[in-house]
């Protein structure tokens, strides 16, 4: 069996699905955030695979940018979660319903 | 994937592992001896197997030097009661010592510890992104400590874990920035190329071209290995041992060995990056070895340099008092990161000027 682009894409899609599942099923904000990271990583895998099988580096450059933006996003997101925790003493999504009516 | 490559790699891995573990054991002994001498004591000088006293001359001498002490220490670590407190988070508690040990051993994989032996390059993995790999692995080193702090489920280890997370993340940045000028000079991330670039005369060593970079790397290395003056995660007097307070027996020994293995790894990095790796600028020792003897000599040169750095790190422990936590952070973020950035800009500028001429 030779491993082709399709295999990598399938793995990537499955990982993306897992991340989405985490976002939908879990209720701890931090774990939801981890689900988001998983989805970003799935996208990275797909991009690197495209880059490899199309014989150019554009995909890898894109992954580089994604990793950078993800790092920035995580730092801001975690700061938000910490700020939220200071006010509400909780990171559960059900406890954060002020905007719900 | 040919089998010859696999076989040679396996041999190299086993040899490197054996050498590193022996060095770990004996650097503990050296640390004890050096600290004893600095504190007007003699250090371990009694441990001896039953046959040692029958060897005329040599036996008592070895005993006095404490040569058998690491063996006794190791035995003791294995035989002591392995105690798991009731309140710990068990899975993480058992996982943490192993995780602490692994990264420092993995780092050794990319360090070229010799030139050639026959047709074999004396490096376990000749990676093109060697230095990035190293930093990646080093950045994993924090997990062992964080997990230990979290698993112990009591306040001192917890504080140690929190402290070490912040400390290691902070100093990783200045450590990474401090070596970038080296790679501007060399033009490759491969550590073998870095060593090759430092051949030809004393002043080819990067310590003479990047003294500031070396200085920052050295200090960051102290912080990354949790050695005094930056041993805040352990901080015996404040945190009663920090993250390994709750550990006993072989698990504690693993943390202990991890610290020394990290010291060896970081010394190896310093030697490779700034002190010419396995080269010596005379007797033609800076060219890849043609004979087996020369190859062996190169490995010995490398080990000798590493030992010098180990001695330095050990000595500094007894020389300087511990920094306060805010001083540590201040030093990392407000002094070293700007300095390292400045170093990069200046080096890049000089290189650009030279290239444009």
């Amino acid at each position: 069996m030779t491993i082709g682009l399709a295999h990598y894409l399938l793995v990537s899609a499955a990982l993306f699905g897992l991340g989405l599942l985490g976002v939908i099923l879990r209720r701890n904000l931090l774990v939801i955030y981890m689900g988001l990271e998983l989805m970003l990583n799935a996208a990275n895998l797909a991009l690197v695979a495209f880059s490899r099988f199309n014989n150019n580096l554009h995909g890898q450059v894109m992954v580089f940018f994604i990793i950078t933006v993800a790092a920035a996003e995580v730092s801001v997101g975690l700061a938000l979660i910490v700020a939220l925790f200071r006010r509400r003493q909780s990171t559960h999504v059900e406890d954060l319903t002020s905007l719900k009516f | 994937m040919d089998w010859q490559f696999l076989a040679f790699s396996l041999v190299k891995i086993i040899a490197a592992f054996a050498v590193v573990m022996t060095m770990v054991a004996y650097s503990v002994l050296v640390e004890r001896k050096v600290s004893a001498f600095i504190q007007d004591r003699l250090g371990p000088n009694r441990t001896q197997p039953f046959f040692a006293k029958y060897i005329p001359g040599l036996g008592p001498l070895l005993t006095r030097w404490g040569v058998f002490q690491p063996i006794a220490d190791g035995l003791k670590a294995f035989l002591k009661e392995d105690f798991t407190p009731a309140h710990v988070r068990k899975v993480y508690f058992w996982l943490a010592p192993a995780i602490a040990m692994v990264p420092s051993l993995l780092t050794v994989a990319v360090i070229p510890f010799g030139s050639m032996m026959g047709a074999q390059k004396m490096v376990i993995a000749d990676l093109d992104v060697g230095i990035l790999y190293t930093f990646g692995i080093v950045s994993l080193g924090v997990y062992g400590i964080v997990l230990a702090g979290y698993a112990a489920n009591s306040k001192y280890p917890f504080l140690g874990g929190i402290r070490s997370t912040a400390q290691m993340i902070s100093y990783e940045i200045s450590m990474g920035l401090s070596v970038i000028p080296i790679f501007l000079l060399v033009g490759s991330l491969n550590l073998g190329d870095v060593v090759q670039h430092q051949t030809g005369g004393w002043f080819a060593w990067h310590i003479f071209r990047q003294p500031l970079g070396f200085f920052i790397f050295l200090i960051a290395a102290f912080a990354e290995t949790n050695r005094l003056p930056f041993d805040l995660p352990e901080a015996d007097q404040e945190l009663v041992g920090g993250y390994h307070t709750e550990y006993s027996s072989i698990k504690f020994a693993l943390f202990f060995m991890a610290e020394y293995a990290a010291m060896i790894a970081v010394s190896g990095m310093m030697v490779t990056l700034f002190f010419g790796g396995w080269t010596l600028p005379f007797l033609g020792l800076d060219q890849p070895a043609a004979t087996l003897g020369m190859g062996l000599l190169h490995i010995l040169v490398f080990l000798g340099k590493v030992c010098c750095f180990l001695l330095l790190i050990i000595w500094v422990r007894w020389m300087l008092p511990r920094f306060r936590y805010d001083q540590l952070m201040d030093l990392g973020w407000r002094r070293f990161i700007p300095l390292a950035l400045l170093n990069i800009v200046v080096t890049a500028g000089v290189l650009a000027l030279l290239a444009s001429k």
Binding site: G4, Y33, L38 | G136
Partner: protein, 166 residues
């Protein structure tokens, strides 16, 4: 050899990913974070198989070494208790799982039906040098843009985490 490695890495990455989001043994966020770290590491292995060494190293360095440590740090700082098992909202869960499965099915179908890409025989070596040249020539503007994003994030985090002074 490569296909065996691919299978191993992919299986472990997916397994660890599953343990991240739906760990049957523990709901603690620490367990999730640790399995996510493992997922990242296995993904880095996949990147190596794709000859993207630089990206693999950066993946370990940034994701496993910095981002996830930050996660752990925050979890420890907030001292979160385990997520209580909730009374499942049956409809919500069913809808969620259904949508995920549907999305996956559509994607998988698309992938399997697609014609193989042009350069199905890969030759590319992910050399750091070429990547750097590309970043600093063709992608210079986005590169600088990302640095500004990082700066803004840094300022934002400092503002967010500062306690309000009276």
């Amino acid at each position: 050899m490569e296909s065996i490695l691919f299978l191993i890495f992919a299986a472990f990455a997916l397994g660890c990913g599953l343990m991240t989001v739906a760990n049957p043994f523990s709901r603690s966020p620490v367990a999730s974070a640790l399995f996510l770290v493992l997922t990242m590491v296995w993904l880095a292995g996949l990147f190596v198989l794709l000859h993207a060494y630089f990206i693999a190293a950066v993946q370990i360095l940034v994701y496993a070494g910095a981002v996830m440590v930050l996660f752990l740090f925050v979890i420890m700082l907030l001292d979160l208790r385990e997520e209580e098992l909730r009374t499942w909202n049956r409809f919500g869960v069913a809808a969620g799982v259904f949508s995920v499965v549907a999305l996956l099915g559509v994607t998988a179908l698309t992938i399997l039906r697609s014609v193989p890409a042009a350069g199905a025989a890969p030759q590319l070596e992910g050399s750091t040098h070429a990547l750097g040249a590309m970043l600093f020539r063709q992608y210079l503007l986005p590169f600088e843009g990302v640095s500004i994003v990082l700066l803004v994030a840094m300022i934002g985090v400092i503002l967010l985490s500062k306690r309000e002074s009276k």
